[in-house]
Amino acid sequence: MSGKHAAPEAPRAAIGQSILSAEGVTMQFGGLRALNDVSFGLSEGEIIGLIGPNGAGKTTFFNCLTGLYAPTSGSVALRGTPLPQDPAKVTDRGIARTFQNIRLFPSMTAEENVLVGRHVRMKQGPLSSLLHGPAFKRSEAEARSRTAELLEFVGLSRFSDELARNLPYGDQRRLEIARALATEPSVLLLDEPTAGMNAQETEATRQLIFKIRDLGTSVVVIEHDTKFIFTLCDRVLVLVQGELLVEGTPDEVRGDPRVVEAYLGAPPDEVEHQIHAAEETP
């Protein structure tokens, strides 16, 4: 319950080596070029914001990073090693994501959702699954205690046995984050984590992302809420019609007339005013 006016700036962790990088990623859907030669680098301990108007290609970019789409050209690498074109393997390598239109497993409980996230980190073969021997019980207990920690971490312990589909909307988004964290990612990609949330929930999410960063996970966030992005991120990228238009610190991006013009398609002054107004309202 922090004050509204001075939302505490979490101390920025030292930004380390480059961890995730994309080189000239282009994605063509038939006649539509959803991404055009996009390059970016994410460093350890960094939070990057990705903004842009609807249909700019932000989600498509995430899909290319996670192997869900195979880019028409360009490459993606984690710690210098190219990533495979298979979402399951990418997750195994240490990139986790959430989805813009929540994709939980609706008729599994919150706990089971997070347990599925443990899939890649659990050592439990089919035979062990069948026989339920001591090794099985150990790995199961370990996974459950880790799951309990994660639910606690995102503040959903009380919903542990609730079906995901019955959770309030904001909590579903949080559960998706917990599920992603269960895969022990070094990079977390969040696609509009505060969409549909009220101001209070948004603030809680902001603090949650800081906490995640402080635990050593680099984060990329897509969000339309500019106030949220500018107060959260170390760097912001602006994507417009598949092109990386501007890249810089929140202050640089906020003041850039091209962004204001292209992003909002309105005369710069007016929009500038609107952005500042948006930031002042809680």
Partner: protein
């Protein structure tokens, strides 16, 4: 421990207010309920048929005059009497939780019993005269009871339906153990009663089908009433608290079936057949219920298991001259079926949903056609492989009766024991896998395949494993099937069989063990029981399926998860982010 805690706590349940025209009847609810009960009692004592039917007198002295033998009513009339009295009592006792719901269940039971018997007498007696008035005799039992049931239903709805009653805290461990023991023993008697009700259809026993259906109707009403009263939930909760104990006692209880009224060769054979299909249905439940992959050719794996077993059995038509011991044959059958499962499963890497169903359908058809044409000389073609010797152990063939001390086991009891053990093993496999990393991966794929992949699940191998394990279990059952029936013919593994198995899984409740067993039992007992309806069998079957899917889409024993999924939901769907609130958010300030 306070006084409140000692009694079963009934959670305050919201009363579902009656809607529409029924709302106006609310003040008369008690009167209607009592009247419904009274009419049911009267109906039970009225004569039901005006004359003796051609095939022989209708059961339970249907032509007996009104109230002649007040204590002598039996069969369906006794069921009605009990339901009627229960309804009258409930109408006036206010303290019963979920009263309206219980009454509704009783009402449906009364309707079912009177419709089944009434329709049967009408069709067999050549018209409505048989249940109204003819030749100077009157018999309004069916009609009065039906009206009674209808009034009861109206009264139940008019008074409003409460939520299901829930019972509170657990009792001590030993108390619960004792209670469970009694309940499971009752369950055994109930199963025996269901199996034997109506007896074996024959010329001497022309109404067995009607008696059986009527019994099912009454049983359905009773179980629904118990469910409304919270008894079923209470028992389930108790058995879940004592899983291991329940498993052992249930296994023991199942092994006692030959000592009940069902302990004859005929019922043992029926029970063993049910067991084969129950085991197979549980295997299918892995593929369909857990992993959500629609398989329309699944019975082929049962067939593959049976064919493999037949070829190693020493039957004259067998391809191989080797006779292997039965346990080894079971393993080989299971493995071979599993390999085919993996082969059929591999296209699932590429196709989803409807396309997958077609691939599996084609596979089932390939199996039927190639065994019909005796490809590879393995299946005996249209001659089938007859003369498969029975399983023997210690010189005792499994198809013969056995006397141990003073206990005489009917012929077929040994096969029954064997299939009980097989089904128990298959259940253990299913249960263990469901609650494991692999099982969760299957369910995740069923729920959302893309999200599952994003969680690091290699969907390809995981789906193939589902097919493989499901097929393995079917192969196991197939080996048993071959020896028990003594003949393996492609005719037993046709498309209709696959569909029936699928229906069993869906009917019973996807993803649950009791569901698959119950579904298989119903779908494979019914044809046995309804032999005399030969021509209408599939029709009745179809209508029943449609009704169940309409009124209980989650299946008879739903998975806790699916139950919630299909429950009516008032929450608005989450706003779809794809339209993007971008401009709105900035402009709104």
């Amino acid at each position: 421990m306070t006084a409140i805690e000692k009694d079963p706590v009934v959670e305050p349940a919201a009363v579902e207010a009656p809607r529409g025209r029924l709302a106006g009847l609310a003040p008369y609810a008690t009167a209607l309920r009592a009247a419904g009960g009274l009419l049911t009692v009267v109906g039970a004592y009225l004569p039901w048929a005006t004359f003796v039917l051609n095939d022989g007198p209708y059961p339970e002295k249907a032509t007996l005059e009104f109230f002649t033998a007040p204590l002598g009513v039996s069969g369906f009339r006794l069921h009605l009497l009990v339901f009627g009295i229960a309804a009258i009592v409930l109408a006036f006792v206010p303290a019963v939780p979920a009263r309206g719901r219980i009454l509704r269940a009783l009402g449906w039971g009364v309707v079912a019993v009177s419709v089944v018997n009434g329709m049967y007498i009408t069709t067999q007696g050549g018209g409505f005269g048989a249940i109204t008035a003819a030749d100077g005799a009157v018999a309004f039992g069916a009609i009065v009871a039906l009206i009674g049931g209808a009034v009861l239903l109206v009264g139940a709805f008019a008074g409003g339906l409460e939520g299901h009653a829930r019972w509170g805290r657990p009792l001590g461990r030993f108390v619960e153990w004792a209670l469970l023991l009694v309940i499971y023993a009752l369950l055994l008697l109930l199963v025996a009663a269901v199996l034997t009700s109506g007896g074996q259809g024959s010329v001497a026993n022309p109404y067995s089908g009607a008696v059986f259906l009527s019994f099912l109707g009454a049983l359905g009403g009773l179980l629904a009433a118990l469910h409304s009263a919270g008894v079923v939930t209470w028992v389930t909760g108790m058995s879940e608290r004592h899983r291991a104990y329940s498993a052992i006692v249930l296994l023991a209880v199942a092994l006692l079936l030959p000592l009940t009224a069902a302990g004859t060769q005929y019922w043992m054979t029926v029970a063993a057949n049910i067991g084969v299909y129950a085991a197979t249905a549980i295997g299918l439940n892995i593929v369909v219920g857990l992993a959500g992959l629609l398989d329309l050719g699944y019975v082929a794996f049962l067939g593959i298991g049976a064919v493999v077993a037949a070829n190693f059995s020493g039957a004259t038509a067998a391809r191989f001259d080797i006779v292997l011991p039965f346990p080894l044959v079971m393993v080989i059958s299971a493995v071979v079926a599993g390999i085919f499962g993996a082969i059929v499963g591999s296209p699932t890497l590429r196709v989803r949903g409807d396309y997958l169903a077609i691939v599996t359908l084609a596979f089932g058809e390939i199996f039927v056609r190639s065994s019909q044409n005796n490809i590879g000389g393995l299946t005996g073609g249209s001659n089938a492989i007859p003369g498969i010797p029975p399983v023997t152990a210690f010189g005792q063939p499994f198809n013969e009766s056995l006397t141990i001390g003073s206990v005489e086991l009917p012929a077929g009891a040994l096969y029954y024991f064997l299939i009980v053990v097989i089904v128990a093993a298959v259940m253990a496999v299913f249960g263990n896998l469901k609650n494991s990393r692999l099982g969760r991966a299957w369910i995740a794929i069923r729920e959302d395949e893309d999200a599952a992949r994003a969680m690091g699940i290699r969907t390809g191998p995981v789906k193939i494993l589902a097919f493989m394990i499901g097929a393995t279990l079917a192969g196991l059952a197939g080996a048993f099937f071959a020896h028990k029936t003594g003949t393996v013919s492609y005719e037993s593994f046709r498309f209709l069989e696959s569909v029936t198995l699928l229906a069993a899984v869906i009917l019973g409740g996807m993803g649950t063990i009791p569901g698959a067993v119950l579904g298989a039992s119903i779908l494979f007992v019914l044809p046995e029981k309804l032999r005399e309806f030969a021509d209408y069998r599939l029709l009745i079957f179809g209508i029943a399926l449609v009704l169940i899917m309409r009124f209980r889409p989650q299946g008879l024993v739903p998975d806790a998860h699916r139950r919630a999924e299909l429950a009516p939901q008032s929450e608005p769907p989450p706003p779809d982010g794809s339209t993007g609130p971008a401009a709105a958010k900035v402009a709104a300030s």
